[in-house]
Symmetry: C2
Subunit: 337 residues, 2 copies
């Protein structure tokens, strides 16, 4: 076992797409836990669209990552050494350990991982923030009802793929928007979506009119931009638009246009609402119980796309999100097995 | 008494601002009520921003006014002849009589006006659709709570002036946006607004940061455009944006940009919701009871700006709305007194 611990730090704030100047790799020794702490060997780091926002120097729902700080990330790993009896050596845990091979923690925001429910890396996906985002975003913010027509963009991504499946198992008609034939085939053939629209191949506006001639009740938006506008054009009376993300514009250097069709909200008595999943922390036990049961019974399929290469591969792995190069939850394996 | 009955009909759909080619005046004899009907001499017609939408040939919450049809309008008048015992001659009524000097009705959507509560023309304002729009839009859609900071645009208009007063009497801090020193003075000096921002004179964005350094809880939007965008920039966590109208863009011939700051809804867990006041018809008795009591006690001041000239003046009166030339509820007096 090596005694080296490498991590990714923010070198400078990117203008537009992050590149090799955005990140730097630093090397330290493996940290020793102080009294009450434990050290974790990080196995998998979650790579998420929200990371792009965290490295902008703007007021948001969390403070930005500072220059020189270890990049913020949610991870799973195994306790490696411990001065905290709640977290004995060998215990698998998830927590905000960052893009680092080893981390110390006092247990703040750390969750014990039960591999009997699902493999550890699924705790970064279906049983992690993406799962809770899909669950509370669709059911609570989106007020999905059985029989609704539910539209989701970024449908082959970590959150979108779960949103569609949760809607299906509640008796909704589900339309997904994703990029490419393989993703769309996965949605309809494996996950049970009723319709998948390939935004790289067809006009989303026209496809939506065909797929939902009577309009949609819920739109779960992960992408923003022109697809949001197309969705606004097909709202039914009382529709709910759930703002989860807007990845299409995250690397933009010019001001991005807003949704010009927003007055569809007015004439259709509809609403557009944002949320942050951590507002639901108190209700995570409810969401975890539901998701783990659905996963156990095979009603919800979770998929992680594991990229190897550890810290060396972080920058390129993050950028895969902006290229739509992932299917399911993108995770970075932090060590060679 | 003359036997002539003149009305305004839609001659052609305007591109941009309505002009003299949009309307035509026709002359008929005063209609005779059939069995079950009554004829109304129309005293005042309500002139509303929504009229601009009604003459576009687009799917909306009501069908468009057809070419050649009498222009749709809500009015108050007096029963002139009657074959309906529920509406005897002399009864004052409000209803969708249109821009016409006389109309017949079978009582559909007609309300009996009680002048003991307020003068007849106030039934087009504080006790009419504008009053119900303010009441349900602020309290139900906007979920205003005592102590909230409430922002309203079009604040010197029919709806906006009521929104601000209702918020004040519930213990809110109220900021209004209006155009011109006179309107702004009316808001603060007569209606009790805490702050009035003159959008013609000062930067709304900067003024908002000064007036609401901790942000706003409710934004009641009557205007859209850049003012909506400025409001989105100062939302507090959990804020509610109520979409009531977007008069800044109603005559636009180019596509209007959407609110580029809409992602403020996401990071602030906020919502933006549209509504149509007629969805609340079942609850109008509640709204009417509240508004009439507040008006009676002087807690809410209603103001109508009466334009004379009848059908000859309809086109120019409507366009006053787009020039911001009205303070309070704009009504058109349909006959010389």
């Amino acid at each position: 076992m090596t005694s080296v611990n490498r991590q990714i730090r923010l070198a400078q704030r990117p203008v537009g797409r992050p590149d090799e100047n955005t990140w730097k790799i630093t090397t330290e020794s493996i940290p020793e836990p102080s009294e009450g702490q434990f050290a974790v060997r990080v196995d998998y780091a979650s790579v998420d669209p929200a990371m792009r926002g965290w490295i902008n120097d703007v007021r948001s729902y969390v403070p930005p990552v500072g220059i020189g700080e270890v990049m913020r990330a949610h991870c799973v790993g195994r306790v490696h050494s411990s001065n905290n009896t709640d977290y004995p050596v060998g215990q698998i845990v998830s927590g905000p350990f960052g893009i680092t091979e080893y981390a110390v923690s006092d247990g703040t925001d750390v969750q014990v991982v039960d591999e009997a429910l699902a493999p550890a890396r699924t705790w970064l996906g279906g049983l992690g923030f993406p799962g809770m985002t899909a669950y509370f975003g669709l059911l609570d913010v989106g007020r999905m009802k059985p029989g609704d027509t539910v539209l989701v963009s970024g449908a082959a991504g970590a959150v979108g793929s779960l949103v569609g499946q949760i809607a299906k198992l509640h008796g909704c008609r589900v339309i997904g928007i994703a990029g490419g034939r393989d993703k769309c085939g996965w949605l309809t053939d494996e996950l049970g979506f009723d319709v998948a629209i390939d935004y790289k191949f067809e006009s989303v506006g026209r496809a939506l009119h065909n797929a939902a001639p009577d309009g949609i009740d819920v739109y779960f938006d992960n992408v923003g931009g022109q697809i949001l506008n197309s969705a606004l054009a097909v709202l039914r009376t009382g529709a709910r638009v759930v703002l989860c993300g807007a990845i299409s514009g995250y690397n933009a250097t010019d001001p991005q246009p807003g949704p010009s069709r927003y007055l569809s909200l007015l004439v259709n008595r509809a609403s557009m609402s944002g949320f942050i999943v951590t507002d639901y922390l108190d209700r995570f036990p409810e969401g975890m119980a539901a998701m783990s049961e659905w996963i156990r019974r095979g009603l919800v399929i979770t998929r992680e796309q594991v990229e190897t290469g550890g810290v060396n591969a972080f920058g390129s792995t993050l950028n895969m999100l902006f290229d739509g190069a992932n299917t399911g939850k993108l995770v970075l394996q932090m060590h060679e097995e």
